[in-house]
């Protein structure tokens, strides 16, 4: 058996399974999106592009699109920003390997928590009457703050939970990456009069550009799957302040309306938009990392 046949043979089962799962559901979604099915009645007609055309006039859809984009930007930049900041801080201040490992271990705990559990814990902590965060705010003379009920704060408050889970996890990864960097260029920068923060801004972090871009992409994909977190914490509210596309599709198709065809059209648009967006980001990222 040549190497190539071996590679093909071992790849076929997994790819076949994936392709079946993906193609069947996409095919089903397209089939639904072209009709006017609802969960209330078994009758349906083919309506062509009607669902898609209606979506383009649906302001709640565009709101959800905007919230989704905002959610992506906030969680990805927040996660990476926190990870870079904390890892540089630990790299500079904690020298003992034992302490570093203990910190890393502690930072891994949040991401091990099921997201639904994290959502419930934080929802309780955010509570205006019972929550520890509002208790602390009270000590400072602020509040009580309606973190999840205030439309201007809700999205940020939920994002904090996501960043708490993933930012600390990414801190561990970035710190370990920094530890693998060669010492010589850092020492050369020290001899070149670079201050501490300049060494990181101009030498260590640029040397990690490739891995950081990969982490950003991983987090961007991960952030698309935040349905559970948002659903438990706010259910998309208050109003539609935290309603991302997947939440809106769920509300439309299953929860409130049962308009399964309309929701399918929305999911297809979401698939299209993310595919295009990620292709562009991926290409740009590769160019930038080179």
């Amino acid at each position: 058996m040549t190497r190539n046949t071996f590679v093909r043979l071992t790849l076929v089962p997994a790819i076949a399974l994936l392709a079946t799962l993906a193609l069947v559901s996409i095919g089903g979604a397209i089939w639904f999106a072209l009709s006017n099915r609802t969960l209330r009645s078994p009758d349906y007609d083919f309506v062509g592009a009607y669902n898609f055309l209606r979506l383009l006039r649906d302001s709640r859809f565009f709101n959800a699109l905007e919230i989704s984009a905002l959610w992506e930007v906030i969680t990805v930049s927040g996660t990476l920003g926190l990870a870079v900041l904390l890892s540089v801080l630990i790299y500079e201040t904690v020298q003992k390997p034992l302490w570093r490992n203990l910190i890393c271990f502690a930072f891994l705990v949040p991401v091990l928590l099921p997201r639904v559990a994290a959502a419930f814990i934080w929802r309780f902590m955010y509570s205006p009457s019972l929550g520890v965060i509002n208790y602390l705010c009270g000590l400072l003379g602020i509040g009580p703050v309606e973190f999840l009920a205030d439309p201007s704060l809700a999205l940020m408050s939920v994002a904090v939970v996501d960043i708490w889970q993933w930012g600390l996890f990414f801190t561990v990864i970035v710190l370990k990456l920094m530890e693998t960097l060669p010492r010589d260029p850092i020492e050369a920068a020290m001899l070149d009069n670079a201050r501490r923060w300049e060494i990181h801004a101009y030498v260590t972090l640029p040397m990690l550009k490739g891995p950081l871009i990969s982490l950003a992409l991983v987090k961007a994909v991960e952030s698309l799957r935040s349905f559970d977190l948002i659903f438990v914490m706010t259910g998309g509210g208050p109003g539609k302040a935290t309603e991302t596309l997947d939440l809106y599709a769920y509300q439309m198709g299953i929860n409130m309306g049962g308009r399964i065809s309309y929701a399918s059209a929305m999911s297809l648009l979401l698939l299209l938009v993310t595919t295009i967006a990620f292709t562009i980001i991926w290409k740009a990222g590769k160019k930038w990392a080179a």
Partner: protein, 359 residues
Amino acid sequence: MANITCSSIVKSYGDYPVIDGLNLDIPDHEFVVFLGPSGCGKSTMLRMIAGLETVTGGRIEIGGTDVTDLPPGDRGVAMVFQSYALYPHMSVADNITFGLRRQGLPKAEIAPRLTQVADMLGLAPFLDRRPKNLSGGQQQRVAMARAMIKTPKVFLFDEPLSNLDAKLREKLRTEIRKMHLQLKTTTIFVTHDQLEAMTIADRIVLMRDGAIEQMGTPDEIFERPASHFVADFIGTPAMNFIDATIEPGHVARSGSIALSLSRDLFPGLRPGQKVELGLRPASMDLVEPGAPNAIAGRVVLVENMGAEGQVITEVDGREISFVTAQFRRVKPGDAVRFALRPDQIHAFDPVSGRSLLGA
């Protein structure tokens, strides 16, 4: 311009001192080579002068200023690393000017200095390239340019040529020497290659186990090695060592070998004294029968080195080698006689290993 003074330098890792009370004075403009086997502390010493390694005890002064506790960037030193340590994501031009930009120099001042340094090292065509698109020799030149452009008080080289092939090493060695003749900046160059040290140094500091074994010009070190260790470390092919006993008439005897020594160089030798003789292969040559100070041996192996050849012989069951231009006349199994002048024989104390010169 700056002289360097190191007084009572101590460096310990935990309880284990790697350098213990080292004193060293390097005058302004001098090109000094730290030479020694790996683990002798030469790189540690250099890194302490650079400020990349903390000093456990003692003081380091550069140009009269105590720099012992100054950060590396404030010491006025520039360093070239063995790995070149270029910033991989920056262009050659950005690599070279990084230090000046960190000092906050205006662009108008940096540009002409970059042009000058790049021209001097032949880097002008490569300024826009990334380091990974350069050959090893070009990368090393970029590292040198990055050090030169800062016009430092002191240049530090940490085994800068070790990663290059032999031909390029020789070429860059000459360039570094020429650069020093032109700039006259005080330079410390670390290497474990004794030939490199001999060819490039004004003065060699030969180190062993964290201490200075001998300090002197290449000639001094080669011709008057202070100890068995120095004699053994310097010179290719390596020196022959023979245990011998002094006999009346200032003659050292070991089995069939009897060599008369110079009374001027070794006035203190007494009959019966045990010595270790050091005979450089390059000081000896084939002689006719009857010549004085001759050693008779049987050829084991002839190594062709081009213009000369090393002849390895067996004398009383031990191997002694010498170098001769007439190596093509001899072949394994031949009986040969070779000799050297009394003033070219070195003698060491067999216990302490110190040279018996003048003793």
